[in-house]
């Protein structure tokens, strides 16, 4: 694949630059049906950089599901419609789950964990030796290797092979594993760090002494030109106002908190009969509380256009997770002009909302209940809050801005080989 673009900044001339060094992106999973924030970001980055003629390869596992890590995609190389080469390697999950669970629980409890146990723990979950050996054997051929998120073996083990050309996009949360020594040293030894937001960078600075090559690049948020909110409502038979949550329905994402608050909200609203529905899409078990079965509506996995429609149709988007390093869905809701109700314990989403003014934060379940009441009682005021959300997203996370920042930093840190004008990468024999 030939990389070619005109550049006047990185090289100080208008000569055509042929990018001959391939950039590898290394997510733990990639492909249709993969749910995960970091995975989604890297998939977008792959498409975006490939469209700008940066030679891209995806190095990943054969897994689709992060609960089972079953090898669902075939191992080997394929090429996507965007021209991106995807190399898949089988996952291995044969270590003792006792190590994983016993040490994992101690980590979550904030206990001091020995280096040996930290290493046992990180090796007790999925591993992907094939990927490790591919990078060990061929890693020097890549201009840079971009890894995300920080906590997976694919990042921990593989990014340290050619650490000086590793760019880690940690997608860091303020959580006990982020304080483990194994990750601290991984961050400190990386060639460079890409952050999604300033609060994430600030957290990294508190946790370690990161490399000097670091930059807040953000992540691309695709902003549709228009939304079909009515069509969405009609397709799914939604006639009443609703709040929306999209993503993984699991404990770590605050899903149970949202359900509990929603149940309380429903109890409160039995007096006046008015209210909201809670509409959700994504993966994970929904398990609505008793009495709320009819009011909690699971749409499963939605197409991109239906998800856009849901974002626009919702009275508010709720983000109950405090552990967000970017929160793509919050920004998608903002872009759709929908107010956001978010867990104020999360620094990143709180910062988005402070800067855009496009929603409310809560501290504790009762405040979440009150936020839901506000949305139900004053939908117009809630909608008005969101007025500047779209502008905020476009000014900061419009994809071309993000891709330009990424390309500029890669060119600065890992200059691409330049071939004489008129020659392709194949002609110069690299890539």
């Amino acid at each position: 694949m030939t990389g070619r673009r005109r550049s006047s900044n990185a090289f100080g001339s208008e000569d055509p630059v042929i990018r001959t060094g391939t950039v590898a992106l290394v997510p733990p999973r990639f492909g249709d049906g993969v749910i995960g924030g970091a995975e989604a970001v890297l998939a977008d980055v792959a498409r975006g950089l490939a469209a700008r003629d940066v030679p891209i390869e995806i190095l990943t596992t054969c897994a689709r599901d992060h609960f089972t890590w079953a090898n669902e995609f075939p191992a080997g190389s394929t090429r996507t419609a965007d021209g991106v080469v995807v190399r898949r390697f089988p996952t291995v999950l044969d270590a003792s789950s006792v190590d994983r669970d016993r040490i994992g629980n101690r980590i979550l409890a904030g206990e001091t964990i020995t280096i040996q146990d930290q290493q046992r723990w990180v090796n007790a979950s999925l591993r992907c030796p094939g990927l490790w050996h591919h990078v060990f054997d061929h890693g020097h051929r890549y201009r840079a290797l971009v890894f995300a998120p920080y906590m997976f073996w694919t990042t921990y083990a593989v990014s340290q092979i050619h650490s000086r050309r590793s760019v880690i996009m940690p997608c860091l949360h303020d959580e006990p594993p982020a304080r483990l020594d194994i990750f601290r040293t991984m961050f400190e030894g990386a060639g460079a760090l890409w952050f999604l937001t300033e609060p994430e960078q600030e957290l990294a600075l508190r946790l370690c002494n990161p490399p000097r090559r670091q930059e807040v690049v953000g992540a691309p948020v695709a902003v549709p030109a228009s939304y079909d909110a009515d069509g969405f409502r009609a397709r799914f038979g939604l006639t009443e106002p609703f709040v929306y949550y999209a993503g993984r329905r699991e404990w770590g994402k605050g899903w149970q908190d949202l359900l509990a608050a929603f149940a309380q909200f429903m109890l409160d609203r039995t007096v006046d009969g008015g209210g909201l529905r809670l509409v959700t899409s994504g993966v994970g078990v929904v398990e609505p509380p008793v009495g709320c079965e009819q009011a909690v509506i699971d749409l499963g996995l939605l197409s991109d256009s239906d998800r856009d429609g849901a974002m626009a149709a919702a009275a508010a988007y709720v983000q109950p997770s405090a552990l967000e390093s970017f929160s793509l869905t919050v920004l998608e809701a903002m872009a759709a002009g929908t107010p956001v109700v978010a867990n104020g314990d999360g620094a990143v989403v709180s910062r988005h909302l402070e800067r855009s003014g496009a929603g409310l934060v809560y501290h504790g379940l009762q405040e979440l209940v009150e936020c839901l009441h506000f949305v139900a009682d004053r939908p117009d005021a809630a909608r008005a809050l969101a007025a500047d959300g779209r502008r905020y997203v476009l000014a900061n996370y419009e994809p071309s801005l993000v891709f330009d920042r990424m390309i500029e930093s890669l060119d600065r840190w890992f200059p691409p080989d330049r071939a004489p004008a008129g020659q392709t990468a194949e002609q110069v024999g690299v890539g």
């Binding site: 040996q116 290493q119 090796n123 000086r164």
Partner: protein, 483 residues
């Protein structure tokens, strides 16, 4: 092209032998061999088996005979780490002998425990068979071959000495000044580097001491590395190294694990490498430093001397004590064109801090029969010398009439030593394995409690001292006449 099984601790575990094995893996693959890796724990290796005891060794034999060649990166932890008895150890050696008979076996002896071999004739017999039947047995230094030969007799001709670094290739290719820039080091400062896992036998504290003695301007000593494992002894050593480095000007401790890239980046940036080991089998750092043609200052240990001589060229010094290390430091520093300013030498403008303190005598201790009273005397002398050289602390000096240090309320607390879990050893026959088993079974509960207790104790001491200081200041303020 052969099918090869490489048996070794492996990445992403922090382990020197794992790093060595990765180099060999690269070379084998460059020679077009199909290499699988087998490690004792789940890792980036293709396979893992619970090595370290008889069962693991037997499973290894079963797995390994499918390969045309088997290379074992031999270390005590890898093969004997789970052995409970002398019979277990004999069983492991016997399995290796069986494997050597069934397949082409290469044994890379990184370290052999001489003690058990010396004590148990049965183990010696089994080891002799394994070494005799192995296709190739290598060590890195002549002294190690000689010691093994003394113990095992007729296997001398089976043991080859190979250069530790014969498989090594640089992980970075930048220049020294580029590496300094990347690490944020001043370009015009001479960089001494002590790098590797931080543990007592590496002796990096001696590098600090020698650097202080040398007192070289426009030079800095960087100590780079981390504890390989969490062990109370290593923790205590790292803490003490942190204190020593913190109070010593122009010395910086970078207490963190470094990847292979980072390791070589530091070596590229270094102007000289200082390795004042107290003991070592053979040193991978020596070989990596040689890759980058760096002057090496190393302890005068027999193995190191041999290793350095085996490597041929390059600038290297061996030093018998801290004083000699300091002299060698000054030599490499001055040969790089650095010089003391004439003013400093003439005494016209002495430096603000005189770093040329008198050299401590080496510890005068008989390791076989240490004299506690003599050690106490040495400790007190060293402490006084260190105190004389220490910068002022921020703690307020006691007011007149203030209680002496021993009378302070915190004295009792401070006198409490850290809680140390007794080593699981016993002079009584058979008790040590039992104690070790109990230790292993209870470690997961006891170690965190012990660490928490130590942290609590330290926090309590700090808090009480802080309170004492505040009270003394308050008392001083109250005693002062009102203005």
């Amino acid at each position: 092209m052969m099918s090869v099984l490489l048996v070794t601790p492996f990445a992403p575990y922090r382990d020197g032998i794992a790093t060595y094995a990765a180099q060999e893996l690269r070379c084998l693959r460059a020679d077009s061999h199909a290499v699988d890796v087998l490690s004792p724990l789940p890792s980036a290796a293709h396979h893992h088996l619970p090595l370290g005891g008889v069962r693991g060794a037997a499973l290894l034999v079963k797995r390994a005979i499918r390969y045309e060649r088997v290379i074992i990166q031999f270390g005590p932890e890898l093969l004997f780490g789970r052995c409970r008895s002398a019979a277990d150890r004999v069983g492991v050696w016997t399995s290796l002998a069986v494997l050597a008979r069934a397949s082409k076996l290469d044994l890379r002896l990184h370290e052999v425990e001489y003690g058990p071999l010396a004590q148990n004739p049965a183990e010696r017999r089994a080891a002799r068979l394994a070494l005799r039947w192995a296709d190739r047995v290598t060590v890195h230094t002549e002294p190690e071959r000689n010691r093994l030969s003394e113990l095992l007799g007729s296997v001398t001709d089976r043991i080859e000495v190979v250069e530790h670094g014969h498989n090594f290739v640089p992980a970075v290719t930048c220049t020294g000044s580029e590496a300094k820039t990347e690490l944020g080091l001043p370009a015009d400062e001479f960089v001494f580097l002590s790098i590797g896992f931080l543990q007592h036998h590496k002796g990096f504290d001696r590098a600090v001491e020698a650097f202080t003695v040398a007192g070289l301007p426009r030079a800095k000593l960087h100590v780079v590395g981390s504890g390989r494992v969490d062990h109370p002894d290593i923790g205590r050593y790292v803490s003490s190294l942190e204190r020593i480095c913190a109070r010593t000007p122009a010395v910086e401790l970078h207490n963190r694990y470094v990847s292979d890239d980072q390791f070589d980046l530091w070596l590229t940036a270094a102007d000289a490498v200082v390795l004042p080991y107290r003991e070592i089998w053979s040193s991978g750092v020596v070989e990596r430093a040689r890759l980058f043609e760096k002057p090496i200052i190393a302890s005068d240990l027999e193995q190191l001397r041999h290793q350095l001589a085996l490597g041929g060229g390059g600038v290297w010094f061996t030093a018998a004590d801290v004083g000699e290390i300091a002299v060698a430091m000054e030599k490499v520093w001055s040969s790089a064109g650095y010089a003391r300013s004439p003013d400093a030498d003439s005494g016209a403008a002495p430096p603000a801090v005189d770093r040329r303190r008198p050299m401590h005598p080496l510890w005068d201790i008989d390791d076989e029969a240490p004299d506690r009273a003599a050690i106490q005397v040495q400790i007190a002398a060293r402490a006084r010398a260190a105190q004389d050289n220490e910068p002022q602390t921020l703690v307020a000096s006691p007011a007149a009439g203030a209680p002496s240090d021993g009378e302070r309320p915190s004295a009792g607390l401070r006198a409490l030593g850290p809680l140390v879990i007794p080593e699981p050893v016993s002079a009584r026959p058979g008790v040590t394995p039992v104690k070790q088993t109990v230790r292993r079974l209870t470690g997961w509960q006891l170690d965190p409690m012990n660490q928490r207790l130590a942290a609590l104790q330290q926090a309590t001491v700090d808090a009480v001292i802080e309170m004492e200081t505040r009270l003394e200041r308050l008392s001083e303020a109250l005693d002062e006449p009102a203005t």
